[in-house]
Point group: C2
Chain length 469, copies 2
């Protein structure tokens, strides 16, 4: 629905609604949907695509690029099926399917969902212009109850000389590329870096990944990083760890990119993907008009409110709490419930964050790592078991290189963290999340019987290991 | 390790140990392992194969027969991978892999595990001969502490005229067949029936399944039965529901089998699989010497003890509580802990039984069905959502025909049952099992965030649906 035309083209149209949501990514959509479901009159403002970064440039296309290789790899491990796999991954078909998954970057399929909920969509860049007031184009909106900010983040470009001028790829170009470069250099070994390294290696590119730290995905357990590094190396990815970019140069706009590392190593590749972190989209939001410093992540209180205002909520990447679609959506549910006057119950375990990295094998983790638990002052012990000799792992054709762990709070005898590495371990993670959130005592958890022969029987080994205190 | 030779060949050798376990299937092995781990001197007696029915004739080979077709089916749904699948399922390779999974029915790979734990293995048929006494061959064993019975079950052959004489297949022949018959008639639409129908249809047999009830897998929700029936029909399986066998005849030992139904329908096939239920192996165990009626399931108390004896435990299929490998192993852990003097905590939710049926799509369920909950006097409501429009379901190539449900106890606002139908839903089941066992309140369960884009996001829909009370 287009924004209303002003009666007087020189002045803004003023409108009043119950709630205004800025940013129609997953967090903004969920907030708008919940508020509208609660009977509020809601406006949702988006300047690019309804569905957000996640739907077109992040979660969805990255998984679409990864999945075909993953399942082919798995089928090749299962005799009987393997013999039927006589061809190679069809790269154009992978890219075409990716385009279907992201709806060819056309958001019209998302609009009926908004219309069914009577959410008014306004297209354009929105700025706060004072208490409960937002301007988008020629329209001035006033919110009776609340404004929810959900503008998200974009890839940060680190200040490496020549980098910006070289027009590197960010997650946007990597996830939507129309063809696979012969070689791809990736700067940054976080989630985006390792997923794209895995995807592009399987799609035929020569991939080199440069990471400043001594290991990949530094927020996860060191042994998790090691298993992912090993898998990437086996796929032919060249990993340069503890390596820092000093300069970048692209002589010709269509030509290769050259990168010089601090140790003077020279690297060259057809494309360069920058995946060193995110930058919140807070700099042109009018935050200064309500006393909030623009530019950084917007700090929120435990109710997800910003600047001490009872009408201003910030959800998703923009608040910097956890840059994950599902946490943004969860925050949106919490904020909407609070705005509607029936706040959600909070977990006595605190905010428990699950994370999945869709490399092959996958990483699925939730809650604390050993390092974060100790930093939080918890007395924890790790129980870790291999997925070898797991009946549900072997017959399925999941390779046996996987490993799973739980972290046990020794004083309270509950789980405070879990890390799983293995083929398609993502769906098994939720059991750990429930156990952590509900603080299920280990002795009771042992009464939750995993089915045979399903890989979740690893819980038997984990609890046995945890019991050997 | 062979049984000791008697000094006097006419009389039994008498031996005394701490514990005697009869039956080396999964339940018996776990019981023996846990008791030995607790420092007891343990004898384990097996007359056929260490590893039991599950390892050679049930769980493992059936899943080995099913998995290659499942993954090929899945790969064909994912463009990019699908193009590489140019051949058909290689049936001899499937059978060869099945033979590897069941170690060619050679149990020597299982023996080191027993040796490492100093468990003495005796081969032969064991009978109780009085209080704490067991005879196997020429050896009379006396147990200082306990005897654990874990002899399991075999396929029951219903009293259909001519059936037994026709030498039908049971699960043993179906799971270990060296070639695929042109046509297979299956009597019984329980778990074995539907799994083998799925397997043999995918391996090229014309399959007809005859079930006396009006639906398949009668212990699950009716909508679950319907989805499985639909999937089998799509694979070309002919389902005859509400159909009762009246007579069976095989004229020639190598020839086809003819079955007449009560409605006079005539069916003919190359082989007939009887899958109408199990019979406990209790008839030749010497139970009568300790005051227990032989022949049926052996009734146990809440401590898994039989006949009012404090030294006689019964675990696994033999006690008839839940004929599932994982429940047998769980009972074994409980019995061993009780024998060792430190009984396990029991779940306030009662015995929560998870079940997985490895058809394609799979069925994973735990706890109550709507029918069993109502029979138990619970006031429950079902929340059910489709797996369509689930982000984690679509990109993975899992078809969207799946459906999931939870049963909410309306008084206590906890989950008491869950049923999932979809491709490879088994690993996601454990989250429901933990929630049921720990009786996690729905409001707290909503704080357990599922990751995006993982199919477990169906929990969001389930909880939303459950919240609309």
């Amino acid at each position: 629905m287009p924004a209303e035309q002003p009666d007087d083209p020189t002045g803004p149209v003023e409108r009043e609604l119950d709630a205004i949501v800025i940013g129609a990514g997953p967090a903004g959509e969920v907030a708008a949907g919940k508020l509208a479901g609660g009977g509020l009159e809601v406006a949702l403002i988006e300047r690019h695509l309804v569905g957000g970064e996640c739907s077109y440039y992040a979660c969805m296309p990255s998984k679409a690029l990864l999945r075909p290789a993953e399942i082919l790899h798995e089928a090749r491990r299962v005799a009987g099926a393997a013999q039927a796999v006589r061809g190679e991954l069809d790269v154009p078909a992978v890219l075409a399917r990716r385009d279907e998954v992201i709806h060819h970057r056309d958001d019209s399929a998302q609009l009926p969902w908004l219309e069914e909920r009577s959410i008014e969509l306004l297209r354009g860049h929105a700025r706060i212009v004072g208490e409960r007031a937002v301007r988008v184009g020629d329209t001035l909106l006033r919110a009776r109850r609340a404004i929810v900010l959900a503008t998200g983040s974009v890839a940060a470009i680190p200040p490496v000389p020549g980098l910006r001028e070289a027009a590197p790829w960010t997650n946007r170009e990597a996830t939507t590329a129309e063809q696979i470069p012969g070689s791809l250099l990736i700067l940054g070994g976080g989630v985006v870096g390792v997923e794209m390294a895995s995807a592009y290696a399987s799609l035929g590119a020569h991939v080199t990944l440069v990471e400043a730290a001594q290991r990949l995905i530094g927020g996860e357990e060191p042994w998790v990083s090691e298993l992912v590094a090993q898998a990437l190396r086996e796929r032919g990815v060249r990993l340069l760890l503890g390596a820092k970019a000093a300069a970048v140069k692209r002589a010709d706009a269509d030509g290769p990119i050259a990168m010089t590392l601090e140790d003077a190593t020279e690297l060259q590749s057809d494309e360069l993907l920058v995946a060193t972190g995110r930058r919140p989209l807070s700099d042109d939001l009018g935050l200064e008009t309500v006393g909030i410093d623009p530019g950084g992540y917007v700090h929120v209180d435990s109710q997800l409110r910003a600047g001490g205002h009872d009408w201003l909520y910030v959800v998703g990447d923009l608040n910097g709490k956890a840059l994950l679609t599902h946490m943004g959506k969860h925050q949106a549910r919490s904020a909407a419930a609070a705005i509607l006057g029936h706040p959600l119950e909070t977990s006595p375990a605190g905010e428990v964050v699950p994370r999945v990295i869709f490399t092959d094998p996958q990483v699925a983790a939730v809650g604390h790592t050993l390092a974060s638990a100790r930093e939080a002052g918890l007395q924890v012990r790790e129980a870790r078991v291999s997925l070898q000799a797991n009946a549900g792992s072997t017959y399925v054709g999941h390779d046996a290189d996987g490993c799973v762990s739980i972290l046990v709070d020794e004083q309270r005898r509950v789980i405070v963290g879990a890390s799983f590495v293995g083929v398609e371990v993502a769906e098994g993670l939720h059991a750990a999340t429930v156990a952590i959130v509900a603080q299920v005592p280990l002795a009771l958890l042992a009464q939750a019987v995993p089915s045979f022969p399903v890989r979740t029987e690893f819980w038997l080994g984990l609890l046995e290991e945890a019991g050997r205190a």
